[in-house]
C-alpha cells in the first residue's frame, strides 16, 4: 500500500475499505480534562489501540500530560 492509495476512488459507503485490514487502521483514543470554558484544557491523554479479529491490543506507551492554562484563565 502506498500513500497514493488515498487518491483511489472509494465506493459509496466503503470509506475505509482499503485500510480496514488487520493492523492497517490504528485507533487513537483521545481524552481531555478541562477546567471549563474560561480555563481550557488542563490535562490531555491518548492511547493507541488496534483491533484485529475483534481482539483489542493497546499500545503499552500512552500519552498523558498536564496543560498549563493560559494567562486569562478563570
Amino acid at each position: 500500500m502506498s500513500d497514493d492509495d488515498d487518491d483511489v476512488a472509494i465506493p459509496k459507503g466503503k470509506l475505509i475499505a482499503q485500510h480496514y485490514m488487520p493492523s492497517k487502521i490504528v485507533y487513537v483514543s483521545f481524552d481531555v480534562e478541562s477546567g471549563g470554558e474560561y480555563c481550557g484544557i488542563v490535562q490531555m491523554s491518548a492511547n493507541i489501540f488496534r483491533i484485529n479479529n475483534n481482539v483489542g491490543e493497546i499500545e503499552s506507551k500512552s500519552f498523558d500530560s498536564y496543560v498549563k492554562p493560559g494567562d486569562g484563565a478563570i
Binding site: 475505509i16 485500510h19 490531555m44 483489542g56 506507551k61 500512552s62 496543560v67 498549563k68
Partner: protein
C-alpha cells in the same frame, strides 16, 4: 502495610503535584501529542481519532484547537478518520467520520479497557479481550 500504601499514595500525589507545576502550555503539549502519534504509527497505517462527542465532549476541544477559525494548531497528518464513542458525528470537524466501523464487541472493549489517565491503576473488567 497500610502505612506503606498511604506513604506511596502520598508520594504519588507529590509527584503529580510537581507535574502540574511544571506543565507546559497547550501549544507545546499538542506538539508532544503529535510527535507521540507520529512515533507510534507505521508509515502505511491510517489513524482514526476516537473521542467522546457532545456538548462537553472532547471533539469540541479538538475542533477549538485545530479547526475553528483562528486556531493555530494542526491535526496530526496521519489522522484520516474520526469516530466517537457515542457514534454521533461531531459538528465542525472536517475529518471523515466513521460510523459502525467496529462491531459491538469492539465498542465494549473500548469503553471498558481504554483509557484514561487512571487506566493503569484500575482493573479492567474486559481483560479477557486484551492479548
Amino acid at each position: 502495610m497500610a502505612q506503606s500504601r498511604f506513604h506511596s499514595q502520598q508520594m504519588s500525589m507529590v509527584s503529580r503535584n510537581q507535574e502540574c507545576k511544571n506543565a507546559e502550555g497547550i501549544e507545546i503539549v499538542w506538539n508532544e501529542f503529535v510527535s507521540y502519534i507520529d512515533k507510534n504509527i507505521g508509515r502505511y497505517q491510517r489513524e482514526c481519532l476516537v473521542a467522546w462527542n457532545g456538548e462537553s465532549g472532547d471533539m469540541k476541544w479538538i475542533y477549538k484547537l485545530t479547526q475553528a477559525p483562528g486556531s493555530k494548531l494542526a491535526m496530526p497528518k496521519g489522522i484520516k478518520y474520526s469516530s466517537s464513542y457515542d457514534q454521533e458525528a461531531p459538528n465542525g470537524i472536517s475529518i471523515p467520520f466513521l460510523r459502525n466501523s467496529f462491531l459491538r464487541h469492539a465498542f465494549e472493549f473500548m469503553r471498558l479497557c481504554i483509557h484514561f489517565s487512571n487506566n493503569l491503576s484500575r482493573s479492567a473488567p474486559g481483560a479477557l479481550l486484551i492479548k
